[in-house]
């Protein structure tokens, strides 16, 4: 070590030597720490990343389940739609374009409009090199000729996609629903559902509620993205893909509804001439919904994008700006004052509480004085008992009844029949309606309960509201002796090959405690409404149609006083026209409720609609019976 002493600052270096070693150790130590992080702590993350680099996944599309009515008619299915795409930069305007116009059979105006769109795209710096959608939903003949002459059309391609189709158009649209593009919210909230941007999802109605059944599960096929040339693809697949390299897509479940499309068509026909309203027909023995119609409606084909996204946007703009709210499902999503259709329930309350005797008469002189107020009747009925009061819809009688009954008793009977509570149909937002109680009024009017509220409640006015389906089910209970059913829309779920996966039996909500004698009196009065000469439905009856029920004319606005001529009143102030009933009168099968929004008098306007529907129901029953006799083995379903 003597040599070191020659160096002037060798000792300096020996001191620093340790520091330099420490520096080296720190630097490599940092490397080791980082390696530990990458290779030990987070190895799984990078492992997955590396796998994703080499393994691709191709999605295999599934088919959405078909929706059918109770007789196998297809209500919602899938069909291929052919769209025309062009790469604007690659399309020759002088040579290819005229040929395209000719083959696609574009009208002059269409051609001009499309050409304008194309010219705009051609100028766009980025978009001119990308495939752009030019024409939507080409018909099959056009597709065929475009394919035949594909060589003459450089830059043009026809691609198919699957769109939802609803053969019945607007019929039953509110219950069926439509398809929309999945939005960011759904993507974020249901990561487990496997949605991707651009997927379509059921928007309302059955399509939405039964989405998870209808959708099916898409499959995938994994593949090696890039490959080292040294090895065979099979070996690489064996090594890197493992067992789960392929999952076949599982088609969605088919759904059979309780609806009878022939009856829905009948309801639609019967409602022609009316601007807005709703019809519900329910099987009183099961609670199954046989027909539901809400007017005005919308075309789910357009809403689902069969005519392109532009059309969807336009359609919804017009729906939302329309004062008639065509997207509103009037069968469940809106509540209306029931008017006189509530009187049978008031009568049942009075009989149960023994506050009127059936034979007791009230003298109707066109109104009823109560406190400082005068309550008007629809006419002058003179001496009427309970039966006559129901048949002629005498308000005065029910005001007298209302002056004796407690409002909470009315509300209690109403609640037994399902008013003020959601029916639980499960599709579309349901309006609960309201059965006002004393407590409710106390809250609402700061303690000042007045007897007049009970008088109005007894005739189904005031604060009482119901939705159409609630009323139908309540009338079904009146008809079947007091069994309140859960409404049923979905009859069964099936696999694509027709095997029934799940069959839904009717569900009884409750058996209503009733005195059968009281009920018989009310039923007899409802028969009288149609059959008796002074009955409110008598004038609009159709001979041979066996129906019982109750008319209603629900006042909407004090600006349309009772008895005034409705044609003088502004549309949105006019009375709602109701008819609620059942058929046949002996061992009833169906309950029918017709609501015509701002339709004026129930007897004049709603009864004919109900009559026609019941007539068609009977006709359909006869025809089907005859057909079944001729060919016992009826094919259950037809295919799209």
């Amino acid at each position: 070590m003597a040599t070191l002493l020659q160096r002037s600052d060798a000792s300096e270096f020996r001191k620093r030597y340790r520091w330099l070693v420490l520096f080296i150790l720190c630097a490599f130590g940092a490397c080791v720490v980082r390696l530990f992080y990458l290779q030990v702590l987070h190895s799984d993350v990078y492992d997955a990343k590396a796998r994703r680099n080499i393994i691709g996944e191709r999605r295999l599309a599934t088919t959405r389940g078909v929706i059918r009515d109770s007789h196998g008619k297809v209500l919602a299915a899938n069909r291929p739609s052919y769209n025309l795409y062009v790469v604007p930069a690659a399309l020759d305007l002088d040579k290819t374009w005229p040929r395209l116009v000719e083959l696609a059979r574009l009208s002059e105006s269409e051609a001009a409009r499309t050409k304008e769109q194309l010219l705009k795209l051609k100028e766009h710096e980025r978009k001119r090199d990308q495939q752009a959608l030019l024409l939507v939903d080409l018909n099959r003949d056009v597709v065929a000729s475009l394919k035949t002459f594909a060589e003459e059309l450089p830059g043009v391609s026809v691609l198919s996609s699957s769109v939802r189709s609803y053969p019945y158009g607007t019929l039953g649209a509110h219950l069926l629903g439509y398809m929309r593009e999945v939005d960011a919210e759904v993507l974020a909230e249901q990561p487990e559902a496997g949605f991707r941007a651009g997927d379509r999802i059921g928007a309302v109605g059955v399509e939405r509620r039964w989405e998870s059944y209808l959708r099916g599960q898409r499959g995938f096929r994994k593949f090696i993205r890039k490959r080292a040339m040294r090895e065979r693809v099979e070996d690489l697949e064996e090594r890197y893909l493992g067992e789960d390299r392929l999952r076949e897509p599982a088609p969605g479940r088919d759904i059979s509804l309780t609806l009878d499309m022939d009856l829905v068509e009948s309801a639609e026909r019967a409602m022609r001439g009316q601007l807005a309203g709703a019809v519900v027909v329910v099987d009183v023995r099961t609670g199954r919904i046989l027909a539901a119609h809400s007017k005005p409606g919308f075309d789910p084909n357009v809403a689902s994008g069969a005519s392109g996204q532009e059309a969807v946007k336009e359609a919804f703009q017009s729906y939302y700006s329309d004062p008639m709210t065509p997207t509103l499902d009037r069968t469940v999503s809106a509540a209306y004052p029931p008017g006189s259709t509530f009187k049978p329930f008031s009568a049942l309350t009075a009989l149960e509480k023994d506050i009127v005797r059936p034979a007791e008469q009230v003298d109707c002189r066109g109104g009823y004085e109560y406190g400082k107020r005068y309550f008007r009747c629809t006419g002058v009925h003179r001496h009427v008992n309970l039966h006559e009061a129901l048949v002629q819809s005498c308000n005065t009688y029910f005001y007298e009844l209302g002056s004796r009954v407690k409002i909470d008793d009315l509300a209690e009977i109403g609640a037994r029949f399902g008013f003020g509570v959601k029916t639980g149909i499960g599709i579309n937002p349901e309006a609960r309606g309201r059965m006002p109680t004393r407590a409710w009024y106390t809250r609402q009017y700061r303690g000042a309960f007045r007897g007049g509220f009970t008088l109005l409640a007894a005739i189904g006015q005031g604060a009482t509201t119901v939705n159409v389906l609630q009323l139908t089910l309540a009338y079904a209970a009146l008809a079947n002796g007091g069994t309140l059913y859960r409404p049923q829309l979905v009859r069964s779920i099936e696999t694509a090959d027709g095997t029934v996966v799940q069959d839904f039996p009717p569900r009884v909500r409750r058996v209503i405690e009733l005195d059968q004698g009281d009920l018989s009196r009310v039923q007899a009065a409802m028969v009288g409404v149609v059959t008796e000469k002074r009955g409110t439905a008598h004038g609009a009856r159709i001979e041979g149609v066996d129906m019982a029920g109750k008319t209603g004319t629900a006042q909407v606005s004090p600006l349309a006083p009772r008895g005034s001529d409705q044609s003088d009143v502004a549309y949105f102030n006019r009375d709602h026209a109701w008819f609620a009933g059942y058929s046949p009168t002996v061992s009833p099968e169906i309950a029918v409720v017709v609501l015509i929004e701002h339709g004026g008098g129930g007897g004049k306007n709603a009864v004919p609609v109900a009559m026609r529907i019941v007539r068609d129901y009977e006709r359909l029953k006869r025809e089907r019976l005859a057909a079944a006799k001729q060919a016992p083995a009826v094919q259950k379903r037809d295919f799209p």
Binding site: S8, C31, V32, S43
Partner: protein, 372 residues
């Protein structure tokens, strides 16, 4: 001194730990190279790479012979030769601008007959020799001021500037860092060190704004924000880290690294051989390799501390500095703790010039070690 009596009997004694470490690293490097380039066996595009490992073996043998030759010669002869070699190196660096073949935007190679060489690589030991010579002749005993350091820094800065123009940021960094390492054996005033630290910051800012090419700036910015630019430079860094992480504790196995075999690593034979190694041999393999580099770096400091004279000590520290900084920079960028700079992994990366130069430098180190 037992050591010197022993060497008197059997001539200068070979530094076995040094030799074994060097041969070990180079051998692992060649094996790794075989795997790194095997992905291209049939791919027409880069089939030229398919048997570069054989070429690398040739270079290794040639380099080893040259290293032995260097080791046999007493390193003190190089003190006299240093100026001639250094200026020769500078001239060939200048020639690059006249003769160089352009490879991906930077001109680094000179074609000599059938093979090309990279003057900037050969310049590394020449800078070390020249600075060592300066330190040997600088007999000042008191601490050095900034003016005393102008000459050694200049010796490194001139070739560094030339190389920067090629452009090759990595190599010029090595000239400067290894010179800095060598200056650590001399005494420097604390104030001067502080000034220089300040100067470093200022020059970094100036370099950033005026000296660096856009792509070089891009490498640093994408290092700082890899998500911002996941397709460009950052993509390389991300794929490299993915490869390393994919290796896990014990590695995917030789020739089994998918990041490597499927071609997700850019320049895996020259710039990212460590990622290939880390993917196939895992954390355990990496510990061994880092251990070898760590030993080599510290061992050269050890040799320096025992060297007979200041020239030898400086030479050993400089050589160790080259190895340490290159290894640290290369591995650091592979694993994402440093920005991506084109610095090769010494003895490990493919490249004749780099391998032969490194072996000759190690021959010098051996020469110092054998004569301590």
């Amino acid at each position: 001194m037992a050591r010197s009596t022993k060497s008197f009997r059997s001539g200068p004694e070979v530094d076995m730990p040094l030799l074994i470490t060097v041969v070990a690293i180079a051998s692992i490097g060649i094996i790794n190279l075989y795997s790194a380039t095997s992905a291209y066996v049939d791919a027409t595009q880069r089939s030229a790479l398919a048997d570069v490992y054989v070429t690398q073996i040739y270079w290794f043998v040639i380099g080893l012979l040259l290293a032995m030759l260097t080791a046999v010669i007493d390193y003190r002869h190089f003190e006299r030769l240093a100026p001639i070699l250094y200026f020769g190196g500078l001239i060939s660096l200048g020639l690059v601008f006249v003769l160089a073949t352009d490879v991906r935007g930077s001109a680094r190679w000179i074609q000599l007959g059938s093979f090309s060489y990279q003057p900037s690589e050969f310049m590394k030991p020449l800078v070390v020799l020249m600075v060592a010579r300066h330190i040997q002749n600088d007999t000042k005993t008191e601490a050095r001021s900034f003016f005393d350091l102008i000459v050694p820094i200049g010796i490194a800065a001139v070739p560094a500037a030339l190389v920067m123009l090629q452009p090759d940021l990595g190599t010029s960094l090595i000239y400067l860092t290894s010179t800095a390492a060598m200056l650590s054996i001399t005494r420097i005033r604390t104030a001067t060190l502080a000034w220089m630290a300040g100067g470093f910051v200022v020059s970094t800012i100036l370099m950033w704004n005026f000296g660096l090419k856009a792509y070089q700036r891009g490498r640093v910015t994408s290092f700082l924000n890899p998500e911002k630019d996941a397709t460009g430079t950052a993509w390389h860094a991300i794929q490299s880290q993915t490869a390393i992480g994919n290796g896990g504790l014990f590695g995917e196995g030789f020739m089994q690294g998918t990041q490597n075999q499927f071609g997700f690593l850019p320049d895996q034979h020259s710039d990212f051989p460590f990622s290939v190694f880390a993917e196939e041999f895992g954390f355990v393999g990496c510990l061994v390799l880092i251990g070898l580099y760590c030993f080599l770096s510290i061992w050269s400091l050890h040799i320096a501390s025992q060297a007979k004279d200041r020239f030898g000590a400086a030479l050993a520290v400089g050589t160790g500095g080259i190895i340490f900084f290159q290894a640290f920079f290369n591995m650091g960028m592979s694993m994402g703790i440093l920005p991506v700079v084109g610095i090769t992994l010494p003895l490990f990366s493919y490249g004749g010039s780099s391998l032969v130069t490194m072996l000759i430098s190690l021959g010098l180190l051996m020469s110092v070690s054998m004569r301590r």
